[in-house]
Symmetry: C2
Subunit: 239 residues, 2 copies
């Protein structure tokens, strides 16, 4: 859960739309009067929407290799430890106070647009566990109909003056545009015992992925590693 049973139009707009003829609202219509009961059927569901970046991710990750598949997973990632990252809000003067209060939260949700991804498949092979294809909406694979990412990031500090949120541990590439930031609220977001489908059948959930390329890139290669002569297929997605 997380979001909100949202409240859509402000009352002034409702009145302006005149869902009912003004006459029927009667002379008693006051500022306190509530809008009509059924709003939703008055409006068509849109099929395409335009989103604006509110900021940008600054991250040590410049490419797929060595970037964690989730912010909590750093096996096979650069430095083998969570890295520092930054959320930079853009220069819109309205953002000056928009972060107020965020430093009281341990985590924030960061919703991004994975702008370097193109294309998607309805079925993907997860990078761990048995080689069974799963539907894209049953995985966290990054190639999706809308390449929207969702990451709960640990907040280390908030620089209100410069509109920067410092985070520890992230799974996002440098330069990724940000669509929204929300506080992490355990009563709506935390279900530690929730069943996780095909993932529950994998013993080491934070364990290593199959590597899509061979040999692995130098910064991930152990000194004792011998480069493989035959690589595995690179077709699987992170999940």
């Amino acid at each position: 859960m997380a979001f909100a049973g949202y409240c859509y139009y402000r009352r002034a707009e409702i009145r302006a739309m005149a869902a009912e003829p003004a006459g029927e609202r009667g002379a008693s219509a006051s500022k306190k009067q509530r809008p009509p009961l059924d709003h939703t059927s008055m409006f068509e569901t849109p099929t395409a929407m335009s989103v604006q970046a509110i900021g940008v991710i600054r991250s040590p990750y410049k490419e797929r290799f060595g970037t964690p598949r989730q912010a909590t997973v750093w096996e096979q990632s650069i430095g083998n430890a969570p890295q520092d990252g930054e959320i930079h809000l853009n220069g819109d003067p309205r953002y000056e106070h928009a972060l107020r209060g965020l430093d009281g939260f341990d985590y924030c949700w960061v919703i991004c647009w994975m702008h370097l991804n193109t294309g998607w498949n309805p079925l993907v092979t997860p990078p761990r566990g048995p080689r069974t294809k799963q539907g894209i909406f049953a995985t966290r694979a990054p190639h999706r109909p809308n390449p929207i990412s969702l990451s709960a990031l640990k907040i280390t500090s908030v620089d209100y003056k410069n509109r920067i949120v410092h985070v520890k541990g992230l799974d996002l590439l440098d330069g990724t545009p940000i669509l929204d930031i929300k506080p992490y609220v355990p009563y709506a977001d935390a279900f530690p015992n929730a069943a996780a489908g095909w993932l529950d059948n994998i013993e080491d959930k934070k364990g290593p992925d199959y590597l899509g390329y061979s040999p692995p890139p130098p910064h991930l290669r152990q000194k004792e590693d011998k480069p493989e002569t035959e690589g595995v297929s690179g077709a699987e997605e992170r999940t």
Copy 2:
């Protein structure tokens, strides 16, 4: 956590883009060759993106009143209990298999576009607790720069043939367009002990909101309630 350190361009595209001149890649360039180390600086961060609805929410909630502010909160909501809702994927034939495996998960994230919301303010007054304004990015208020919602919904069943996910308990209006569905993965998403800033100072986190209108609408009014003669301000946002 949640999403993925994403893998952006597929290798064929990388090759086509010719980040390095083809000659430098040499005759040994093979299908297994990995892309160059720094991709991100090759691309500008986009400022505006276009999203497509993948489906629509079917919900008993037709207006703000009686709609839970979070899917886990049903005090003051219609029926005073979690309601049944449906996630309908649209008719794109590629979605036929895209849900495969989702019924093994207890919860899914549903990311929507709150299409009936317009406008936003950098500071909002939460509907509970002390009347202290918080930055919009430190609240889950629905009026946001991009009106994107985030809800973890309990899956009751998946109707693969008709591409419908049945859920129990939701905080979304009927007709809301859906942007993405992701499985809930506790190792990346569940932080039950995370501090929640200003919300931690409110004793009853799932307790009642201040009502923005007075008298409250009939379906929320208790029989013994006397309509208030003076209402409170309706300016606060749900959080």
